[in-house]
């Protein structure tokens, strides 16, 4: 039998360290898009909670660590890092391998992302556990705060190269400014 070799979306592109930031690929494992049917959100959340330990997240929030439930649009969330349980009240679509997900860490992480997104990333507005659907350069995607200087950025897999390119260019610009300021 043929064994296919899995290739991650950012294979050969990451990791990178530029200036004060590092960009690494996140292998999220199994991902499923959950879209509760009308009036079923509470029931789906309860079933999800008893099956995998996290409920259906409120808008712009990410619950849990492993597995996680990440809001990703109106009445939609991604279950990340767990097999999808039987959920009678929701449409469930396999998104494993559908997303390119990168983590950006470092003192300039906010400054780098601020060059690419109109999202208000100030710590008072966008806290750990907050997630948002927004623009990253010309792409639509998601940004999630993991810590004070740590974020996750995700776009559809087909745009992995552009995501790495845009993040690299923004990080190089920040690093160049730091050099010039010395």
């Amino acid at each position: 039998m043929v064994n296919l070799i899995a290739k991650t979306p950012c294979a050969g592109l990451l990791p990178k360290t530029i200036g004060t930031v590092t960009v690494t690929e996140v292998n999220a494992g199994q991902m499923t898009l959950l879209a509760p049917h009308r009036g079923q959100k509470k029931a789906v959340s309860d079933a999800l909670k008893s099956a995998v330990g996290v409920g259906f997240p409120a808008p712009n929030r990410c619950l849990g660590t492993a597995p996680r439930a990440m809001w990703c649009g109106q009445e939609q969330a991604l279950l990340i890092g767990a097999a999808c349980p039987e959920l009678a009240g929701a449409a469930c679509v396999d998104h494993s391998d559908a997303w390119a997900i990168v983590q950006i860490d470092g003192a300039d992480a906010v400054a780098v992302l601020a060059r690419l997104t109109p999202l208000d990333l100030r710590a008072t507005e966008f806290k750990r556990g907050h997630t948002a659907r927004t623009l990253i350069g010309h792409m639509t995607g998601g940004i999630t705060r993991l810590g004070a200087h740590s974020f996750e950025v995700m776009v559809m897999r087909s745009m992995a190269g552009t995501l790495v390119h845009d993040l690299t260019q923004a990080a190089e610009n920040m690093a160049a400014r730091a050099l010039q300021g010395r």
Binding site: Q74, P118, A132, R133, T134, L135
Partner: protein, 87 residues
């Protein structure tokens, strides 16, 4: 310019797609006369003051919203989900 998405909060205008006046929520009955359809498809007021427009939070939550704004002062007065709005 920032628009107050009822789901996502205040967001930059670039995340939204502009559709047009909220009249579009007022679809005539299928058997309405040609005049009603002409109004619905083509005829719009051009108010100096408050107006209500449909915007799509395209690069955000995906919701259609109705934004009330003032064409004279450019003030944005509020927004509601289109599914809950009465045109």
């Amino acid at each position: 310019m920032r628009l107050p998405c009822p789901i996502c909060g205040e967001r930059d205008r670039r995340e939204f797609y502009y559709q047009g006046h909220a009249t579009l929520l007022d679809r005539p009955a299928a058997d309405a006369d040609a005049g009603a359809w002409d109004d619905y498809v083509h005829n719009r007021d051009n108010p100096a003051g408050e107006t209500r427009d449909l915007w799509h939070h395209e690069a955000g939550c995906g919701a259609w919203i109705v934004v009330t704004r003032n064409t004279v002062t450019h003030e944005v007065l509020g927004a509601v989900l289109a599914e809950k709005a009465k045109s």
